[in-house]
């Protein structure tokens, strides 16, 4: 069976830390703000930022909502303690319920989950402003490729240090960085409703799907080649369907080009002119 090629975790961590230091320098802002969910992605992002620019320049928010499990807040606190971060808890239960009621979205768990993800985005960008801080993204490559994220919710961030890192390697980074063991071993969850897990929704574990995604996305293998190389057809079909269906999330919007100077089409410019 084809595998996901391993990566040198120490060098990966060193490189991403340099990235975070450079982005902060280029932005001219004071630090990073990260939402700690209690999960492994935000733990790794926070740990990398804390060691890259110093824990005093990284602030953390825990943003529990009506469906969050108590373990999530416990684990977020553990992560903040492990990396010396100030953690502020903002309970979004009441505003979440209120907005859901106003929008009549409470009965649909996907709508409600998206609503909470976007509410966390609002809280993070709002609290980032007075610092001023960059919002530290926590999306990994596997979930981006599968589209397992909320557009303009958890997918929205100033920088995405893990956006090109496979989930399998996020776990490896977590171990190397000293993320608390319970955060690493628990089942990944978006925490959008009680008992939700990524694997339950996607239909496969990241360790199982990462090699399929790698050999398709980077290796250029098509469906039949993947199956012929030994991956189970339901796994390949499920992965490729999510990969195809959610691709719109890779580019969150599309501009109607009606001139010869369409931004990001005809004119592509550096993000930071004074870098």
């Amino acid at each position: 069976m084809l595998e996901l090629p391993p990566v040198n975790v120490q060098l990966l961590a060193q490189a991403i830390k340099a990235f975070l230091a450079e982005e902060l320098r280029a932005s001219g802002l004071a630090g990073y703000l990260v939402g700690l969910s209690g999960g492994v992605d935000s733990a790794v992002s926070a740990a990398l930022a804390a060691t890259a620019v110093g824990p005093d320049r990284v602030s953390a928010l825990a943003l529990p909502g009506p469906t969050s499990s108590p373990e999530s807040l416990r684990d977020a606190t553990m992560v903040a303690d492990a990396f010396g971060l100030q953690l502020q808890v903002l309970d979004l239960t009441r505003p979440g319920d209120m907005l859901a009621e106003t929008l009549d979205a409470r009965a649909d768990r996907v709508r409600f989950g998206n609503l909470m993800a976007r509410m966390r985005m609002v809280a993070l960008f709002d609290r980032a402003r007075p610092v001023p801080a960059l919002v530290l993204g926590t999306s990994n490559k596997s979930e981006i490729l599968l589209g397992y994220s909320t557009l303009f919710g958890d997918a929205a961030a100033s920088v995405q240090p893990l956006g090109d890192v496979w989930k399998t390697h996020v776990f490896a980074l977590a171990r190397a960085l000293g993320v608390p063991e319970s955060v690493i071993t628990k089942a990944p969850t978006a925490d959008l409703w009680p008992g939700q897990t990524d694997a339950g929704e996607l239909g496969f574990e990241y360790a199982t799907v990462d090699p399929v995604l790698y050999w398709h996305h980077e290796g250029g293998m098509g469906r039949d080649e993947l199956v012929a190389s030994g991956f189970p057809p339901p796994l390949v079909d499920g992965a490729l369907e999510a990969y195809r269906r959610n691709r719109f999330k890779w580019r969150p919007t599309v501009v109607a080009r009606v001139s010869a100077s369409c931004i990001n089409v005809d004119r592509i410019l550096p993000r930071n002119p004074e870098r």
Binding site: A18, I268, P270, P273, R275
Partner: protein, 242 residues
């Protein structure tokens, strides 16, 4: 000679920013470099605004307050993460650049990945190759970024097969979310390290000493470039189209 990486005056990922930042050779902003070149030969990289239109990805050799030569990048990578063919025009010719220190083959990044470039230049009795680069890298299981490893093979092959020292400078660190692999290196005509490799992620100044007499001795003992038979290279590549 002080050698800087590709597009050292502007940064690599300018994209359409080259429209704003490209310089003419008579641009007054080059004055400080021209002044410095009275003391030290300089080789810098910059987006060059051409007289008759177009922008080249150029290496400019400065000495004695004057511009001694320009190499325009021949091979503009336009695949994968690269889009240089969109912003630059390709150089028209491949000729060595000359200054008081000798005659040098200047290659800009992708130029060196076409081994013919170094083979052709090596007929001109070079004192060295200057390979200036903005080489991005990815990370794999290796203890160094993958890009540095590939450069090591390519530059070593150029040095050994042309029996000419190679001086390589590469951009390092992060720009616009792209990691550049650093690992600048100087290698002698037999493949031994003269200086470096520099670190992958940190800026560094490498100092390499090279002996023209030693290189000549090496070419006397291993006269590989003098046996080059370019006439064996006439046919266009067969594409094997379906």
């Amino acid at each position: 000679m002080v050698v800087f990486p590709e597009l050292s005056l502007s940064g690599y990922l300018l994209a359409h920013g080259v429209l704003e930042h490209a310089l003419r050779l008579d641009d007054s902003r080059l004055e400080p470099l021209l002044k410095a070149s009275r003391e030290t030969v300089l080789l810098v990289g910059m987006p060059l605004r051409e007289q008759h239109g177009g922008i080249s990805n150029a290496a400019v050799l400065l000495e004695g307050g004057e511009i001694r030569g320009v190499h325009r990048k021949l091979y503009l990578p336009t695949y994968g993460m690269f889009d240089e063919g969109r912003y630059f025009i390709p150089g028209p010719c491949l000729e060595p650049l000359t200054c008081s220190l000798g005659r040098f083959g200047v290659l800009i990044c992708e130029d060196a990945w076409h081994l013919s470039s170094s083979v052709i230049l090596s007929r001109a009795n070079l004192d060295g190759f200057m390979v200036i680069s903005g080489g991005p890298t990815e990370l794999d299981l290796g203890g160094e970024p993958a890009g540095g490893r590939r450069w090591h093979w390519i530059l070593g092959a150029i040095a050994i097969t042309t029996v000419t020292p190679v001086f390589f400078t590469n951009r390092c660190g992060w720009e616009e979310g792209i990691l550049f692999g650093g690992a600048s290196w100087a290698v002698d005509p037999r493949g031994s390290t003269l200086a470096g490799p520099a670190p992958a992620l940190e800026e560094a100044l490498l100092v390499a000493r090279s002996s023209r007499a030693a290189a000549a001795r090496a070419r006397t003992l291993t006269p590989i470039p003098y046996a080059e038979r370019l006439e064996l290279w006439p046919a266009p590549r067969e594409r094997g189209d379906a």
